[in-house]
Amino acid sequence: MSQHDHAHEDSAAIAHHHDIHSELPSDPALRVKALESLLTEKGLVDPATVDAWVETYESRIGPRNGAKVVAKAWVDPDYKRRLLSDATKAIGELDMLGNQGQHMVALVNTPEIHNLVVCTLCSCYPLPVLGLPPVWYKSAPYRSRAVLDPRGVLKEFGLELPEHVKIRVWDSTAEVRYLVVPERPAGTERLSEEQLAALVTRDSMIGVAKVKA
């Protein structure tokens, strides 16, 4: 059986199991509760491990990581150069690599080029530097139109770019993860790296917003 036929059989077999959903309650809270109790009884999950994962992304991993990378790039030209030539290594220097963020590329916004990140196929997102993605990033409206009408999408975020700016939309179709380095806002010359990091928002590191002074 050719690789193609095998894939076809395999997909059909998996899809068949999705028909269980007509026999399950629609409320996801009930279903997830039942799943956790089943997996615990079978020893397929340790609830304490579930807690640990939740806690990791609630308190240890989030957009503040990415903000630190951006602020450092703003104040340290040599770091910025390293970030541009090999973001994986440069972000690794700050110990901010990890699952869904092992192969990094930094996209520097300039007055002429504005970068925007999407995953049209699912929800790929640089978790170690930005934490978990917002719902809109994982939803059909953004996934469908970011590549087709980026200017229209940015308008819905209240960001209108002048005609002369070139927009580059990066569709995360592989395991490469993208971090937008927004433009440093004017009037922040005297701010410390920490103060600069505090200005950097999650949305500006996806590319749907600019950083305001």
Partner: protein, 219 residues
């Protein structure tokens, strides 16, 4: 409009479930719904293409789950709401508002058979001749109108051969948006399955589409 209705070439939509000696209407209401939408009074000069366009604006999940005639109800409601012939309150209550005047020009039963065999159609005489000839290689333009169009996504940018010319026909892309019939020459274009789907497709198979002149460019 690149919405869920344009499903040519999609996978994952399940197996074809053909029902042996299937009745035209599975439940009584389906016949009533079909009948309402066919014989009701439409707004003045209502363009038929708009009916298809309004169905495309149905929310994607509803489009995939609601039955066919229920989607007709949605379209009929939109048409009458849009034209102000019914109000949202009237639709909700199923009762005419206090000031609503009753019309007496609805299609009568004895006119239905004639209506179903009426020969008004979308063909139009055109002054200038067709731009493309039978046998000519043409490419379906890579266009992404967010309004109504009859050029499916799977054929855009693909090259085929003109095999038939149907003369002038009303252009849905304009008609569906009250921009008049704007008739254009209509052609049947034949594409090889391999042009559409790559070399894994059967070498012998073909797909034919009826495409308006503005959809096409010389290849």
């Amino acid at each position: 409009m690149n919405s869920i209705h344009d499903m040519g070439g999609m996978h994952g939509l399940g197996a074809v479930r053909a029902e042996p000696n299937e009745p035209p209407f599975h439940e009584k209401w389906e016949g009533r719904a079909g009948g309402i939408v066919e014989v009701m009074t439409f707004p003045e000069n209502f363009p038929g293409d708009r009916f298809r366009y309004l169905r495309e604006t149905l929310r994607p999940d509803l489009y995939l789950t609601q039955s066919y005639y229920e989607q007709w109800l949605y379209v009929a409601e939109q048409i009458l709401l849009e034209a102000g012939m019914i109000s949202a309150e009237e639709l909700r209550d199923g009762r005419a508002g206090p000031s609503a005047a009753k019309r007496n020009d609805a299609m009568r039963a004895d006119a239905v058979w004639g209506f179903l065999h009426d020969r008004a159609h979308t063909g139009r005489k055109l002054a200038e001749g067709p731009r493309f000839a039978i046998g000519q290689r043409v490419r379906a333009r890579n266009m992404q109108p967010d309004g109504h169009t009859r050029l499916p996504r799977y054929a855009r940018g693909k090259t085929g051969i003109v095999t038939r010319h149907h003369g002038g026909h009303v252009l849905p892309d304009a008609h569906a948006h009250w921009q008049g019939p704007a008739p254009q020459h209509l052609y049947t274009v034949r594409f090889t399955a391999r042009e559409l789907w790559g070399e894994a497709a059967n070498p012998r198979d073909r797909v034919n589409l009826d495409l308006w002149e503005s959809y096409l460019e010389p290849a």
